[in-house]
């Protein structure tokens, strides 16, 4: 695919990837460029009149703590996505290293890591996260970065497994045999031969890990395990439940974060589907 033009052309044939990336791009712009149009301070409590229905002055309305929900959504999306990114990037990084090492070299390390991965996959990761999050001193002072780090404790597990599986199959391919015959060492083969071919899978793992991080943070924060001041999407949901937004018919408070979360989730899902299509093209273009 040559350059941007070729890429855009490809997206026409892979609508899932195109739409997914579009959604994620939109969310990114919303949370970054969007900040130029709001006052971030308004995202914190006691900034505005409370319980305002959406109007010209407050397009997204306000909540029971006096937050401008438009500002809240903009800032919150950025924060939640950041948490997800931290968990995702660390998860992918660790997963890549472990996945390649165990998949290619096997041996004792493989047996040990495989055991740990299998155990961690059976333990409900959410319970584990709750345990860890609640044992942190002052969970309500937790920073975005700290939350991201907690989530990365479990976000590396699936990528490791997925990458290891791919490496196991790829390792038997004839071009790896050729590389050995050409005098390449194990590490060289991993980096130069295997990794480029696994880029789509790495990207899929990244999408999955970021998504997992976002969902994990939402889960923890909805339960109140997070910084109560910060307007992350998860905390917004915590507060709307705390203040009984459902019973009080404050539909705007409920729909806004839910809609954004749903968009993010769909975005990541479509990107995964699109990348899968890229990695395993159903229609071969060559003759």
């Amino acid at each position: 695919m040559r350059g941007l033009g070729g890429f855009i052309n490809y997206l026409r044939r892979n609508p899932a990837l195109g739409i997914g990336l579009g959604i994620l791009l939109f969310l990114m712009l919303f949370s970054t460029v969007g900040e130029m149009f709001i006052d971030p301070d308004d995202a914190y409590a006691l900034s505005t009149p409370i319980n305002e229905v959406p109007s010209a002055e407050y397009p997204f309305g306000t909540d029971s703590q006096g937050r401008d929900l438009l500002a809240s959504m903009v800032v919150g999306t950025r924060m939640t996505m950041t948490i997800g990114m931290i968990a995702g990037v660390i998860g992918l990084g660790v997963g890549t290293v472990l996945g390649f090492m165990t998949g290619y070299f096997g041996g004792l390390i493989d047996t040990v890591i495989k055991f740990i991965v299998d155990v961690l996959m059976t333990i409900p990761s959410f319970l584990l996260l709750i345990m860890i999050a609640s044992s942190v001193p002052d969970p309500d002072q937790m920073s975005i970065v700290q939350m991201g780090l907690i989530l990365s404790i479990v976000s590396w597990v699936r990528p490791t497994r997925a990458i290891r599986a791919q490496v196991l199959t790829m390792r038997e391919r004839a071009f790896v045999m050729m590389a050995k015959l050409s005098g390449m060492s194990g590490m060289e083969i991993i980096i130069k031969e295997l990794m480029p071919n696994l880029m789509p899978y790495l990207a899929i793992s990244l999408a999955g890990a970021v998504n997992g991080g976002v969902l994990g943070s939402l889960g923890l924060q909805t339960l109140g395990l997070g910084n109560l001041r910060e307007p992350t999407l998860g905390m917004t949901i915590y507060w709307l439940r705390y203040y009984n937004a459902f019973l009080r018919g404050m539909w705007w408070w409920i729909l806004e974060p839910v809609f954004i979360i749903a968009l993010a989730f769909i975005g990541f899902l479509l990107v995964s589907i699109g990348l899968d299509e890229f990695a395993n093209p159903r229609t071969r273009r060559t003759v």
Partner: protein, 337 residues
């Protein structure tokens, strides 16, 4: 006698689980010498163990019992420098012309990486010259091939580049596993000719693995017929194909569809349906269940290798009056008669 370059010593390879083992290779001893510029074919059906032999010789898997030795040392005991030398001196051409290429890189990679790793050229222009030279020898032009990705070339071109790689590296031994089976008929001759050239001009011994006896006949000097992991017949390829002695070889040769409508398929020999029964432990000759000449002695223990001529040995009780060759001496049939 000098140390052979590469050898299998009493190698047995078993796949599968304890309850359902498959013996791919059964107590095989085989040696390949450096200064022996001949082409030796190992032929057999699928399940014969021929590909397993290749993989063991290349060190891609280890034997269940026995040793694979490079210049007298077991592969597992080679240090880093010796292992590098092993890789330098033993090369291969595989069956699938697409699978040997990493689809991410241009085909030049297949040639340039070994040149770089084995320091075959001192500058990039020298490297380029080496590549062009090798490509010419297989009838390819560099402007049509270099700089392209594998999917942009045909199967025949890709396989020829793989052979060009072997020519370029001038290994001490070339192991080829069905190098022409996935290539068009019109191109097979070109590739076989290039391999023969490597053998004759540079004295490189070639270990040719195939199930196709016609190409084996054409390119090789000697042949070893395998059946279910054991040697059935071995020796001079002309003698064996024109006048096979082992009932299994006879079956194989008679099943070749010669491209001549006047040579009847089967040559009149009766065909025995292959057994539908799963592989189970056999105490005697492995071919006995399918053999039209089976005798009682065939079920007792596997037959020894009987020498019919200096360059022709058969593992069959029909020839039990002939002199016995120890299985360890299999390589002794690869001589001029």
């Amino acid at each position: 006698m000098s140390t052979p370059l590469l050898e299998l010593r009493n190698v047995t390879k078993i796949f599968g689980s304890k309850d359902n083992p498959t013996v791919a290779l059964d107590d095989m001893t085989f040696a390949l010498d450096e200064g022996f510029p001949k082409i030796i074919t190992v032929a057999g059906e699928s399940g014969s163990g021929k590909t397993t032999m290749g993989m063991l010789l290349l060190g891609f898997y280890g034997p269940t019992r026995g040793d694979v030795l490079f210049r007298g040392q077991p592969l597992g005991e080679l240090n880093r420098a010796e292992l590098f030398k092993f890789r330098r001196e033993i090369q291969a051409v595989f069956q699938d012309p697409f699978a040997v290429y990493n689809p991410f890189y241009k085909v030049d990679n297949l040639l340039s990486i070994p040149i770089k790793n084995f320091k075959l050229a001192h500058s990039s222009s020298e490297a380029r010259e080496l590549m062009e030279d090798a490509l010419e020898r297989v009838g390819l032009r560099q402007e049509e091939t270099l700089g392209r990705y594998p999917h942009q070339l045909s199967g025949g071109q890709r396989q020829r580049i793989a052979v060009a790689r072997a020519l370029l590296l001038k290994p001490k031994l070339l192991i080829t596993d069905e190098p022409v089976s996935m290539v068009d008929a019109s191109l097979r001759s070109t590739i076989l000719k290039a391999l023969r050239g490597l053998n004759q001009e540079f004295g490189t011994p070639i270990f040719y693995i195939t199930h196709d006896l016609t190409t084996a006949y054409h390119i090789s000097d000697y042949i070893v017929i395998l059946y279910r992991g054991s040697v059935m017949e071995a020796g001079n390829v002309d003698t064996i194909i024109r006048n096979p002695k082992h009932p299994y070889t006879q079956l194989l040769v008679s099943s070749i569809p010669w491209p001549d409508p006047d040579i009847a398929w089967g040559g009149g020999q009766e065909m025995i349906q292959s057994s539908q029964v799963a592989f189970k432990a056999i105490t005697g000759c492995k071919f006995a269940p399918r053999c039209p000449y089976k005798m009682d002695i065939c079920d007792t223990k596997p037959p020894d290798l009987f020498a019919l001529e200096r360059d022709h040995a058969v593992a069959c009780y029909l020839y039990r009056d002939s002199e016995v060759i120890a299985r360890e001496e299999l390589a002794s049939v690869f001589v001029e008669a």
